[in-house]
């Protein structure tokens, strides 16, 4: 019976070590901002899921398009119904890697994040600078980047083309906690 005890103990220990390799958030923040001469449009999503594997530096992010909140309710409806077609493409996802992840420290906390962004069913390679804060209780990623609306085949009708920017600024802030 002793062997079993040892095995069980070893397994518990082993598993707890393994679990520390991943960091997750379900309440990440992503916003986008469109500036035009006519109006500024901003939408926030506070229900972004993101997970980091600290061994490989790999990262996966996903969010529901319908969780983006606008100041104007009608805009939010049009965003989902007419522009990103949330009923057909409910999620935006990112899958990629934080370069030189293990080499990052408090002094050297900036790196590149590279990977593929999928929005409206269209896949696009992106790379952008990201700030990584590694703490005892979590990992925080912060940054922003620009995307072109046309890259994701989101059609903007001529009548509102002055209201919506061709390039959208995306800002993210993700506070990951250890994943058990």
């Amino acid at each position: 019976m002793k062997e079993i005890n040892i095995i069980v103990f070893a397994l518990l220990f082993y598993n707890s070590v393994v679990a520390q390799d991943k960091f997750l958030t379900k309440e990440g923040y992503v916003s986008f901002f469109s500036h035009s001469l006519v109006e500024d449009i901003k939408a926030d999503n506070n229900q972004v899921l993101s997970i980091i594997d600290t061994v490989t530096g790999k990262i996966a992010i996903q969010m529901l398009m319908r969780s983006f909140m606008f100041k104007k309710a009608l805009m939010q409806e049009h965003f989902n119904e007419n522009y990103v077609e949330s009923y057909k493409y409910p999620k935006a996802t990112f899958s990629g890697e934080l370069l030189n992840f293990s080499g990052l420290s408090a002094a050297n906390n900036e790196t590149e994040i590279v990977g593929t962004l999928t929005v409206h069913g269209e896949v696009k390679e992106i790379s952008t600078k990201v700030q990584v804060e590694k703490g005892a209780d979590g990992i925080t990623l912060k940054g922003n980047f620009n995307v072109d609306v046309a890259d994701f085949k989101i059609k903007i009708p001529a009548i509102v083309s002055n209201n919506i920017a061709k390039t959208i600024k995306v800002t993210f802030e993700l506070h990951h906690k250890p994943y058990k």
């Binding site: 397994l11 082993y14 393994v18 379900k26 996966a60 104007k72 509102v160």
Partner: protein, 293 residues
Amino acid sequence: MKNYFLLSTFILLMPIFVLGQDLEAILEEESVDTTMVVAGTFNGTRLLNGHSVETRKKGILEFLISHRFGRINSGFDQLFGLDNSNIRFGFEYALNDNLTFALGRSSFEKTFDGYAKYRLLHQLDGEKPFPFSLTFLGSATEKTIKDYLPENKPTFSERLTYTGQALIARKINQNLSLQFMPTFIHFNTVPEAIDPHDMVALGFGTRIKISKRVSINGEYYYNLNPFESMDFKNSIAFGVDIETGGHIFQLILGNSVSMIEKGFITETTGNFFKGDIHFGFNISRAFQIKKTK
């Protein structure tokens, strides 16, 4: 001993399988299946003549201008009805996402109308789906045209008519929505003694989207006990909705002149299939008076 060894080897390998599990799969597992409101059953608050189940979101003031011209079969002399125009102006304010108050005035019989519209149930999908939306409409109208002899001047209450309506709708898919509208109308005054004071009508409506911003709508009201003194016809209308941001344009062909429930459901006399068709339009402009956050 051999069994323990096998078992422990297997269990020891387990975490490695877990490690190998990709991050996307973990996110899928972690993502909660939320319940979402099905939005956009109809483009606007009007299907054609009558209401749709939609209400405006909190803080939106909607200005509606509606026109119904004369009968198309009135010939060139009347420019196919365009010489004759009936108009309704309406201001509609959404106190919250589910409750709208409105005031309107129609040139036809110089009628004022006020209504309250409350959305009780939303169609939901996701974790806990719900199959349909339900909205209630209560409206009162006052006819102010002086079509009486001076000695027969009606009192305020004699000029009033009330409408109660349940709007039940389901968005079947992105392109097809259906609506059912049981309606009750009470007249304080009726044209002739044989006419009923209370009427019940059943309405049916649909929206078929032909592109992201354009749809074809149809609406039909079947009146179960119409006025006896009138050559009454059930109200039928077809139209095209064009949506451009904050505006909605609705082009309408129908056999009714009136743009309020009490009018088109009970007082329509045009025979649609004999060409008694009125061209018309609704233009809606929504202003966000209060921000949602």
